[in-house]
C-alpha cells in the first residue's frame, strides 16, 4: 500500500471515529455519509469501530478500593512536613554559605595579615644613614652571584662612599615573608572549619538523597 493510500485511509478512519462519537461538523458528516454509501470497506470499518468502542466501554467500572478523603490532621502534617523540609533545606544552605564565606574570609585575612605590609617592610629595610662597612651594609652586600650582578651598581656606589638606596637593599634581601609565614594561621583553615564544611556537605547529601527517595 502506498503512503498516499495509507494517509487517505487514516483520514477516513479519523472521520469515521469522530462520526461514531457524533463529533463531526455538518459538512464532514455529509462527506463521510457519501463515502459510506459508495465504499463497502468504509462501512465495514465503521461497524468495527463501533464494536471496538462498545468493547472498551463494556469494561467494568472500577470502584475506589478505599476512601481517599483527606484527614485534617494528616493534611496539616503533610503541609507542615513540606514546610519544615523546605525550611531545613534553606537553613542548611544559609549555614553552608556562612561557614564557607567565613572560612574564605579567614583564609584571605590571614594571608593578608601575614603578608608584609609595604610600609612596615620599607621601615624595616630602610638602612640607617650610617657609614660604609656597617654590619647592615655588609649583610646586604653578600648576595648570590646573580643577585650581586643585578645589584652591581648600588654596590659600586656604596664603594664610592654613597649610601645605598632602599631599592638596592630590597632586591638582595631575603624575603621577609619567609619568616612571617611561620606565624600560625597563614594559608590554613582551622580544623574545626573543615569539620563543619564536611559535616554540612554530608548533611546536604543526606537531604538530596531523602528528596530523591521521598516517594
Amino acid at each position: 500500500m502506498t503512503k498516499g493510500t495509507d494517509e487517505r485511509r487514516m483520514a477516513v478512519e479519523e472521520l469515521l471515529s469522530a462520526y461514531v462519537d457524533g463529533e463531526l461538523s455538518p459538512q464532514e458528516r455529509g462527506r463521510i455519509e457519501e463515502i459510506l454509501q459508495r465504499d463497502k470497506s468504509a462501512s465495514t470499518m465503521l461497524m468495527e469501530l463501533k464494536h471496538t468502542k462498545e468493547a472498551v466501554s463494556s469494561l467494568p467500572k472500577m470502584r475506589a478500593p478505599r476512601a481517599f478523603a483527606i484527614s485534617e490532621k494528616s493534611e496539616k502534617r503533610g503541609l507542615l512536613g513540606i514546610k519544615a523540609f523546605k525550611l531545613a533545606l534553606s537553613l542548611a544552605a544559609v549555614m553552608l554559605v556562612i561557614v564557607v564565606g567565613w572560612g574564605f574570609f579567614t583564609l584571605m585575612s590571614g594571608g593578608m595579615s601575614a603578608s608584609p605590609r609595604p610600609q612596615a617592610v620599607q621601615k624595616k629595610l630602610q638602612p640607617a644613614p650610617t657609614a660604609l662597612g656597617t654590619p647592615q651594609v655588609k649583610a646586604l652586600s653578600a648576595p648570590k652571584a646573580t643577585e650581586a650582578k643585578k645589584a652591581k651598581k648600588p654596590l659600586l656606589a656604596s664603594k664610592g662612599g654613597t649610601l645605598p638606596t632602599p631599592t638596592a637593599t630590597l632586591a638582595p634581601h631575603p624575603s621577609p615573608s619567609r619568616t612571617l609565614s611561620k606565624k600560625p594561621g597563614r594559608g590554613t583553615a582551622p580544623s574545626w572549619w573543615w569539620g563543619a564544611v564536611v559535616a554540612l556537605l554530608a548533611a546536604m547529601l543526606v537531604v538530596l538523597f531523602l528528596t530523591k527517595h521521598k516517594k
Binding site: 487514516m10 478512519e13 479519523e14 469515521l16 471515529s17 469522530a18 462519537d21 463529533e23 468495527e48 469501530l49 464494536h51 471496538t52 468502542k53 468493547a55 472498551v56 466501554s57 463494556s58 469494561l59 467494568p60 467500572k61 472500577m62 470502584r63 475506589a64 478500593p65 478505599r66 476512601a67 481517599f68 478523603a69 483527606i70 484527614s71 485534617e72 493534611e75 503533610g78 503541609l79
Partner: protein
Amino acid sequence: MSEEAIWIEKALRGDVQSFNRLVLKYQDMAYNVAYRILADPDDAADAVQDSFVKAFERLHQLHGGSFKAWLLRIVTNSCYDRIRKKKRHPTISMDTPSGERETIQQWPETAPGPEEIVLQHERAEIIQKGISELPPDQRTVLVLSDIEGLSYREIAEVTQVPIGTVRSRLARARAKMREYLKERGVLPGS
C-alpha cells in the same frame, strides 16, 4: 451557586470537610481512570491519593473552570509520572497479578454463571491489555472518551491539547485497538 461551587468555595477557605465531599463525589471516577491507564490497582490508588492531596493544595489555581476536568488533569498527570518512573525503574511485582484481583473485586454474585464469568473476565483482560499497549497519550484519550464518556471538548480541557489532536489521537487509538481485538477474536464476526 451549585452545591459543588459552594464546596469549592469553602475548601478554598481551608475547610477540609467540604473538600472531602468533592473527594467522595469524584473518587470512583478518578480511580477508574487511573486504573485503566496504569492497569495496576496499587499504583492507581497511590496516583489518586496523590492527586487529591495535590488538588487540595492547588485549589486556588482553579479559576472558575470545571473541577472535574481540572481534577482529571491532575490524575492523568500523576499517572504519566508513574508510567515514566516505571519505565526508568522497571520492577517485577511479587503480588497477585492485577487481573486476578479484578476478578475478585469486579464480578458480582448476580452474574449468570461461572462459565460466563470466566469468559467475560478473559475478554476484559484482553481489552485492558490492548489499552495498556497503547502509547500513554492515546491511552488517556481512549479511557476518557470510551470509558468515562467525556466529549472531545472536555478531553481537550483535561489533556490541554486542541480538539483536532484529541480527534486524531482517539482515531489512532481505536485503529490499534480494532486490530488488536480483531486478532484475538474479541470483535463480533472476527
